[in-house]
């Protein structure tokens, strides 16, 4: 039986109230932000209660909001000099005492209810802690195991209570968390065969990072909300 998103939204509002904050969506999806301390109780309720019965955790995904909304096309300063293809990146050396911006890292959970045929998205921000940490949902949905290992590997987000938090996708002995936005696309080290030493050797990358198409944000008025309701050519 399929329930509508609005039915689900009203049930969630009635059940969790101020614990969850709805995220506005432009494409008919239901998403909520919640505090990380509420994650386990809310997740358990979403799985077990008949109103929700989200039997499946489809996906867990780390997100790094470091460069959200900033573009690489520095039009004002580059007008006189022309555009450089290389976008300069400074190496990031993290100190143990460093903290992150409050909303830098997030973990996004996609849930699916087979019984109600509906999806919902939960987002949890990790806060300022270094390293970022959120509670693990492995005990609620066993499928979270590898997804959380992946988020740990790629973003360095720790999952409290995970039974086996090891790297999963990167190489044995890899240093750093490659999907963080301050990790360069070309990486930090490259590998080559050293004939003198007779083995594979690591060295700093020799490729200069280049941006072929700069990231640019344009305000496209076609998508402005007040223009979308038919008063476009008014």
């Amino acid at each position: 039986m399929r329930i509508s998103l609005e039915t689900l939204a009203s049930r969630i509002d009635a059940r969790f109230g101020a614990k969850v904050e709805r995220v506005p969506s432009t494409c008919g999806e239901l998403g909520y932000i919640l505090a990380k301390n509420d994650l386990i109780p809310v997740a358990t309720a979403l799985r077990d209660e008949d109103d929700f019965s989200f039997e499946q955790l489809i996906d867990v995904c780390g997100v790094d909001y470091l460069t959200y909304g900033t573009d690489e096309w520095t039009t004002t300063s580059a007008t006189g000099s022309g555009f450089s293809r290389g976008v300069e990146r400074r190496p990031v050396i993290l100190d143990e005492s460093d903290t992150f911006a409050d909303r830098r890292f997030a973990v996004v959970y996609h849930l699916l209810s087979i019984r109600n045929n509906v999806r919902v998205r939960l987002r949890v921000y990790t806060g300022t802690e270094n390293p970022p940490i959120v509670p693990s949902v492995v005990d609620v949905w066993n499928s979270a195991n590898w997804f959380e290992r992946e988020a740990f590997d790629l973003f360095g987000i720790l999952f409290d209570g995970h039974p086996d938090l090891r790297r999963i996708l990167t190489d044995y002995g890899f240093i750093g968390h490659p999907f963080r936005k301050d990790f360069p696309l070309s990486g930090n080290v490259e590998v080559r065969y050293d004939p003198e030493k007779g083995r594979v050797a690591y060295q700093p990358v020799t490729i200069e990072p280049r941006t072929l198409v700069p990231k640019v944000i344009r305000d496209d008025n076609r998508y402005a909300p007040d223009l979308k309701d038919g008063s476009k050519n008014g």
Binding site: R2, V23, S25, T26, C27, E29, G31, E55, Q56, L57, I58, D59, C61, V63, D64, Y68, G69, D71, V108, H110, I114, N117, R119, R121, W141, N142, S143, N145, W146, F147, E150, R167, I168, L169, T170, D171, P178, F179, L185, T211, V213, K215, V216, I217, R218, D219, D220, R222, Y223
Partner: protein, 417 residues
């Protein structure tokens, strides 16, 4: 008598039955597996990070290379996510073409799976039979996109071009006489739709052939019945989707339950298993090939009767025709902007999932309003399935590991991304 100690065995990453680059650390007690620890990531290419550094359209080709035996279904999910954010809907004919090629892709994938699965557990002939039919479907890919595998055929707003009126043909060579070439080309004389139509007519007979070889085969049943039984509750808990979930008896198919494109107009059945073992998953997939064949046939009939555009007419997203650029300033500007900068997608987030041959393949897209995606997360079915392999093989013999890898239909392009 000496006591037999449990020992650790390394399986893969270079092993023909590992379906690519799977490394399994197996703790064995004699022939029986106590624990399995899969090591993946040997094919990790950071597709998601690469996609985040390029304009939207340039990453469609990366999607083909994820699950490289079901190329267009991967593209489909990515393209759907972009369309969802842009708020555009492709023309009806494009939707039918997509559904038709999704199903062709499903047959391609299942043939590859059946051939490899058969080969793994001792049925060499299956591999040859399956590749015979795969060849024809690869020709459809070639006819429509120019490549046999990595098509990049689906685009936001439709498909790259309409179905061609002619098929690529075989040429005579040292190894193939004119007479044999004529026989091969006989089916390729008409348009692509004629070719696909002829394929759908003969394909159920081919599936009968496969089933004659396997379904009641004693060896096949000994290797698959009661191997790696997964209960429906565990299947849900472990994040199984697609044939893995249906094999356990849960009737769940996104094409029917959350239809996208024109699937709600299609007439097809969802096969489900009873016992949740390797044999049931085999039966489910074989029946899916028959159902896909039905869907392809329905699409062919509709596409024959209904010509029309296959791409939306919005040059903020879709490049204008080459001929228009010759004397239309605006088209030239659109073309220049699209190929230097791409289009900006309104800020927001979207999750688009398709019923991929292997399960639910989803793309989670976060846009901050730029011409590049801010975050792309690929939800690959194989990743969730492989994470359950330890639970599925414990207590089975070493040789059954191969059957379980086969039944999961693992492709490392999508597991490692």
């Amino acid at each position: 008598m000496a006591e037999i100690q449990s020992y650790t065995m390394n399986f893969g990453p270079q092993h023909p039955a590992a379906h690519g680059v799977l490394r399994l650390i197996l703790e064995m007690e004699g022939e029986v597996i106590q624990r399995a620890d899969p090591h993946v990531g040997l094919l990790h290419r950071a597709t998601e990070k690469l996609a985040e550094s390029k304009p939207y359209s340039q990453s469609i080709g990366y999607m083909d290379r994820l699950d490289y035996v079901s190329m267009m279904c991967n593209e489909h999910s990515y393209v759907l996510a972009i369309e969802k954010l842009l708020g555009i809907v492709p023309p009806l004919r494009a939707q039918y073409i997509r559904v038709m090629f999704d199903e062709i892709t499903r047959v391609l994938n299942h043939l590859m799976w059946l051939g490899a699965h058969g080969l793994d557990i001792g049925a060499m002939t299956m591999f040859l039979y399956c590749f015979r039919e795969r060849e024809d479907l690869m020709d459809c890919y070639e006819a429509v996109s120019g490549t046999r595998m990595h098509a990049t055929y689906y685009r936001p707003g439709g498909v790259f071009r309409d179905l061609p009126d002619s098929m690529p043909k075989y040429q005579p060579s040292k190894w193939r006489s004119q007479k044999r070439v004529d026989a091969l080309n006989a089916i390729r004389e008409g348009s692509l739709l004629d070719f696909i139509d002829a394929f759908t007519a003969k394909f159920p007979g081919c599936v009968d052939q496969y089933e004659t070889l396997l379904t009641d085969n004693r060896i096949w049943k000994q290797r698959t019945v009661n191997i790696a039984v997964v209960s429906p509750e565990r299947a849900l808990q472990l994040g199984f989707t697609g044939p893995m979930l249906r094999g356990s008896g849960v009737e769940w198919d996104l094409r029917r339950k959350q239809p996208y494109e024109v699937y709600e107009r299609m007439d097809f059945d969802i096969p489900v298993g009873v016992n949740g073992d390797c044999y049931d998953r085999y039966l489910v997939r074989v029946e899916e090939m028959r159902q896909s064949n039905r869907i392809i046939k329905q699409c062919v009939d509709w596409l024959r009767a209904n010509p029309g555009p296959v791409m939306i007419d919005d040059h903020k997203v879709v490049a204008p025709a080459r001929i228009e650029m010759k004397d239309d300033m605006e088209s030239l500007i659109h073309h220049f902007k699209l190929f230097t900068e791409g289009y900006c997608v309104p800020a927001g987030e979207a999750y688009a999932a398709v019923e991929h041959p292997k399960g639910e393949f989803g793309i989670y897209l976060i846009s901050d309003g730029a011409n590049k995606p801010y975050r792309v997360k690929i939800r690959a079915a194989g990743f969730a399935h492989l994470s359950a392999i330890s639970e599925m093989v414990v207590g089975h013999m070493l040789a059954d590991v191969v059957a379980v890898i086969g039944t999961q239909d693992i492709v490392f392009g999508e597991v490692d991304r």
